[in-house]
């Protein structure tokens, strides 16, 4: 038992401390770069702050008023909530093209259960939330158990859920006045708190709380770390003891649930229950996620980034419109700005390696 190769013994007297290096002149800039490096969501935050400042300078008080700034929050509210759901799925290296459809079907269920079947609105809301979660479960089950690509699963579900929505609702809108009179609970997220000129709807507050909650869960719980691990390398995660299927199914279910909440919040925002809403939710939520710095290949990025990403688009949209650009020019400029925002992001990241 002691065929030990003799030269190996020479290593015995080696020092026992961890290596340390003189970092040289650690200037402020270098410290800042390091901070950016360890907190990637700071980058979209910087882009956001820069764009607020630029539009503020260009537009003055029209833009830089509590009213306009909180208006942006309201305008990105729904997309922000949906983008949270989308972030979770994208973190697992998936994609959810059915978010918009699930959102609108859930809101239709809330509305129709109340008005068609006469259920109490509380129960109808719960049914809507269950509906969303169930759609998410189907997505998750197909992705995790059947090993189908998320893109296809949710593309299929998008069509299925949307068609179901149109068939079930018979394309009928439930009018805002009716809801306000008979089931105001459905419009809960439309309630506002006013502070000076600033207007915060419950929907906006919900979005902010949701972002904080998810940021906590992703960072500070085991489940959160597993979400990252699954997105990073599912085989490695499986081999090192993560119940990959369970994590995937739970992520898609949670995504469905959040979309159902978004559907509820949407009733609050637009007042009525309309089966044609939410058609742009897919592309807008994915845009927010990607501008926010989450990799479409999974496992990298943070939910705070998504939040800032959604706000960046909101700021650009409102700012450009107030500057008087007309619709096609706005689209064109937003296209340019999206690319520019990500280029700045990329550049800051590169500087900060």
């Amino acid at each position: 038992m002691s065929t030990q190769q003799s030269y190996e013994a020479a290593a015995a007297g080696s020092p026992q401390e961890t290596a340390e290096f003189d970092q040289g002149h650690q200037s402020f800039i270098q410290k800042f770069q390091h901070l950016l490096h360890v907190t990637p969501s700071l980058v979209p935050l910087i882009v956001l702050v820069l764009s607020v400042i630029v539009f503020g300078l260009l537009l003055g008080s029209k833009f830089f008023s509590p009213f306009a700034l909180t208006l942006i929050l309201q305008q990105v509210g729904i997309v922000g909530i949906v983008a949270c759901a989308q972030s979770l799925v994208i973190l697992t290296a998936g994609i959810d093209l059915s978010v918009g459809a699930i959102m609108v079907l859930s809101s239709v269920v809330m509305g129709q259960f109340t008005f068609r079947y006469g259920l109490p609105p509380e129960i109808a809301v719960v049914c809507g939330l269950i509906c969303g979660t169930f759609c998410g479960f189907i997505n998750g089950w197909l992705v995790a158990r059947m090993k189908l690509p998320p893109f296809i699963v949710t593309l299929g579900m998008w069509q299925i859920v949307l068609a179901t929505n149109f068939l079930y609702s018979a394309n009928e809108t439930i009018r805002s006045q009716t809801i306000a009179a008979e089931a105001p609970l459905l419009q809960l997220f439309g309630e506002k708190i006013k502070l000076g000129g600033a207007v915060f709807t419950y929907g906006v507050i919900f979005m902010v709380l949701l972002v904080i909650l998810l940021a906590y869960v992703l960072r500070h719980t085991a489940w959160g770390r597993h979400v990252y691990a699954v997105g990073d390398d599912p085989d490695a995660a499986e081999l090192s003891g993560v119940k990959v299927n369970r994590v995937l199914i739970s992520v898609y279910m949670l995504s469905g649930l959040i979309c159902a909440f978004a559907g509820w919040a949407m009733i609050g925002r637009i007042g009525s229950v309309s089966p044609t809403s939410g058609q742009l939710a897919n592309i807008e939520s994915i845009t927010a996620v990607v501008i926010g710095g989450i990799s479409l290949f999974g496992g990298r990025g943070s939910i705070l980034g998504t939040f800032f990403g959604a706000l960046i688009v909101g700021v650009f949209t409102l700012g450009l419109r107030l500057l008087g650009a007309d619709a096609q020019w706005t689209y064109l400029l937003i296209g340019l700005l999206i690319i520019a925002a990500v280029a700045v992001d990329q550049w800051i990241r590169k500087v900060s390696v």
Partner: protein, 258 residues
Amino acid sequence: MEPILKARGLVKRYGRVTALDHCDFDLMPGEILAVIGDNGAGKSSLIKAISGAVIPDEGEVWLEGRKVQFTSPIDAREEGIETVYQTLAMSPALSIADNMFMGRELRKPGWRGNLLRQLDRARMEEIAREKLNELGLMTIQNINQAVETLSGGQRQGVAVARAAAFGSKVIILDEPTAALGVKESRRVLELIQDVKSRGIPIILISHNMPHVFEVADRIHVHRLGKRLCVIDPKAHSMSDAVAYMTGAAEPAAELAEA
């Protein structure tokens, strides 16, 4: 004595490639069993088949006399079988501590852990640091580094430290020292003997003959997808082992039955 882990007639084919060809396997309680063989002989495939990472096409596996059918590595882990795969199975973007505690994270004590289910990062980092120091990996400067930024050997060290820290019934190490330096390899060998002294049997795959002969109680020689023979390192020389595994010599008939 009954083997703690036993396999018979394992077959695994990948299309036209045969990785395991009716392979047998035995691990005795408390022993260090080395598995040696040429590149591509099927050693990794063998341990994947017994640890649930791949499902063999044919053949059966017994753990402590019970027939088991692992369909995932988690099944095996829940039975106390801890494996360091050759590909290391780590999440590149996550930190060292995250990786070490993946699937068995520690929570904060009190309500923050129970209620908020908050992870105890400080403790996990501290334990991770300690385990790495035990292996002599003093060049890891930042315990929060993403695993993908570690050097080849540092990465391997993390994987080995993880298995040693958590294995309870069997520990399987697939070439744990391939990328390690002289000092770090030495530490791993010491660790292996440490684990053995805790009564836990170890399967060690290695191409390093001096190391194999230093620590192994028995040596399973793998060739062309099957167990060629099992030899006693005290009764055979390294040259014998090498000759058998490369096919330069045939083992005596009675060895093949060992």
